[in-house]
Symmetry: C2
Subunit: 422 residues, 2 copies
């Protein structure tokens, strides 16, 4: 989260948090029919609790709450509002690998501009995050909703079946080309249309796929022409960023959510069937609350999925798994507890992380506990040490024990820890 936050801030995104609750009406109808079913609804308090009436619901993503906030505070926000948001969302979904009912999304969104620089900056920011976390082999697929429209139209898929075709297409990562072909047929897509579709999206094409596609299509209207140009522009401008060698045009990318209107983007890594994150342009969503169109574009990273892949690949640095404390201060006997408290205080003031053993157990037992917890150094103030104003420090990793003046204990601990904590 620290890495995500730092990178997003370097791009000028400001932090935002929104409440876990939204009014139920704010969420319904924004995520498609399947999404509606996955929204967690909260019982209205009081008499309605018996009737099962629900008035609130839990955040399903961070985009719709943002749109609600932008509509609500439109007069207080700058012309270009750029925010990042790292918060959990909830979906009444069947859990799977890296997929939970509660999970964190890390979103960046930019409101107020239709410029392709918005998409380029988000592609770059996301690439910076993944690169900083140690990912090298990710790819960001890029497509456009209107290129998809043009694709389906030119393949000869009747408008009424285009939604069905997209659902099938969206599964290509999971079920492959043959699976999609089968599912297209099952969903009533004419065989020749399905074949054209698969030909256009599937060719292991090495040249300029975008241009080739545009030339293949017989019927491309002005808006669709602009969409091709938009994707071309995003690819060109992204060259000068860390996303340059990561982003590629991928005409099969569909993205499930219904609110996208322009460019759509999704991150793929070889060892995860789903994506690490995705996003796109949604120029109409804020207008649903506000009554006038406001351009907007966002990108969302799925934290748990990133963690799943990083864990499986052992990408986390060793230090993350280290001991939570530097020193454990032992308690010699009941009478000396005040000394132990004071020593813990002095060490903490010097920046050392200290665990104070709570009970006056036998010292052997206290050492054993420290050892089982992986604590590197144990501090002892016995009667002798106390009389001489000293502290004994035992390094549990080496077994070495030495006695130092109490005043120099923090320094001695720091020295003992050097090399461990860097």
């Amino acid at each position: 989260m620290g890495v995500v936050r730092r990178v997003y801030q370097s791009y000028g995104y400001e932090p935002l948090e929104t409440p876990a609750f939204e009014n139920i009406d704010t969420l319904l109808g924004k995520y498609g029919e399947e999404g509606n079913k996955l929204i967690f609804k909260i019982l209205r308090r009081g008499e309605h609790e018996a009737s099962g009436d629900a008035d609130l619901a839990l955040r399903y993503d961070l985009t719709v709450p943002l749109a609600r906030v932008v509509a609500q505070y439109q007069n207080d926000l700058p012309k270009y509002f750029k925010r990042y948001q790292i918060q959990p969302v909830w979906r009444a979904d069947r859990p799977a690998r890296g997929r939970f009912r509660e999970f964190y999304q890390c979103d960046v969104d930019a409101i107020g501009s239709t410029s392709p620089l918005v998409e380029v900056e988000q592609l770059a920011a996301v690439s910076d995050v993944l690169t900083a976390l140690g990912f090298q082999d990710f790819v960001i697929d890029l497509n456009h909703r209107l290129i998809l429209r043009s694709l389906l139209k030119n393949a000869g898929i009747p408008p009424a079946l285009q939604g069905e075709a997209l659902v099938a297409l969206d599964k290509i990562d999971k079920i492959g080309r043959d699976g999609v072909a089968k599912e297209l047929a099952e969903r009533g897509i004419p065989p020749d249309a399905g074949q054209r579709l698969l030909h256009w999206i599937g060719a292991a094409w090495e040249g300029d796929w975008l241009q080739w596609l545009e030339q293949q299509f017989a019927d491309v209207d002005t808006d669709e022409r602009a969409a091709f140009e938009n994707v071309r522009e995003i690819l060109r401008l992204a060259q000068d960023t860390s996303a340059g060698d990561k982003v590629r045009f991928e005409p099969s990318l569909a993205r499930g959510l219904s609110y996208y209107t322009g460019a759509i983007m999704e991150i793929a890594v070889p060892d995860l069937a789903g994506s690490l994150g995705g996003g796109g342009r949604y120029d109409n969503l804020i207008g649903m609350f506000l009554g006038r169109e406001v351009p907007a574009c966002g990108f969302s990273l799925g934290l748990e999925r990133i963690i799943v892949v990083m864990t499986e690949r052992r990408m986390f640095p060793e230090a993350v798994a280290g001991s939570a404390v530097d020193v454990m201060v032992t308690v010699w006997n009941e009478a000396s507890r005040a000394d132990a408290v004071a020593l813990a205080r002095d060490l903490r003031q010097a920046g050392v992380r200290v665990e104070l053993y709570p009970d006056a157990d036998k010292l052997g037992k206290q050492f054993k506990y420290a050892s089982s917890r992986g604590v590197p150094v144990v501090a002892i103030v016995g009667d002798d040490e106390r009389a001489r104003g000293e502290v004994s420090l035992k390094d549990l990793r080496t077994g070495e024990q030495r006695t130092v003046l109490r005043a120099s204990a923090p320094q001695a601990v720091a020295t003992a820890l050097k090399g461990t904590n860097g």
Copy 2:
């Protein structure tokens, strides 16, 4: 949050997060009757959504979820389990100043020891947090559930009315001594018992209140005697910590939650009717899940209340309210967008926070926008600058503009910002 986290870690508490949901049965019956009503309940998915059946509920505090976790993972946890947790909780409450339906609690809890060192460490940690945030005038009230019991018993309040008396007593901060006297009478407490109670808790006593009270009471059983000794011990051991001059015995402190069994603690500041946080020992709660007693003690800080007081007292450093970016990179014209992207990239790589203006608007408009956003420095790559491999930097605070080599732009920005950011 950063301050809270740092201090808690220095005490050896480990971070923990729990899901927002708990099974509804985990929460019901833990917070008293009033608490039950304030739990937000979530509709069960599927067919039950129509029947109003609820199976899950939202966290009401961080203590019960911790107890559930400890019971569930008892075999994987160390003998002394110390965790901190900073997460929102939800209560279907009427909002008030610093009181919301969703709010953050910052909890420390220590499981596994009955030692008074546990309470002392928590008092010290909380004092360290508040001191680090800039608070000087807070007081931590300390009482014990069994001293309360002894107090009510010796005042002559019948067992059946002791709950009523506690509810009245709990309001002393809000309604004063006279208000409590009136409410005690209304709740059917015999006048002489009410008077004794108020005499014992209310005397502006300068000496050893604890000892005086113990001597006043005619009937003190062994457990109650131990409670007096426990509070005395906590006060004595806390002397050697930052809580030494903050914590005081306060026999009127009751704390609403029903699960406390021993010492109870609460932070008061003069300018807030409620408390900034509180806690106490709850040796039976984990046993409710586990079937055997496990000693435990915790302290919870209310983040929003702390923020309310800090805001009203203007305790936040200026920098917190500063600009989110260091530099805004302007866009000279459509053709030069790639240059702007590349410059933004280079500045970010040097650690500068950069906003890239998205549209090729007139430069005056871009400057005006930067100024309205409080951005200190604006970078321009016009045609001339581009031809010479240079960048113009304008300091919007001084109006000064200078041209530097593109390669030294990050350094020049850093110099311009020096004094602003530290």
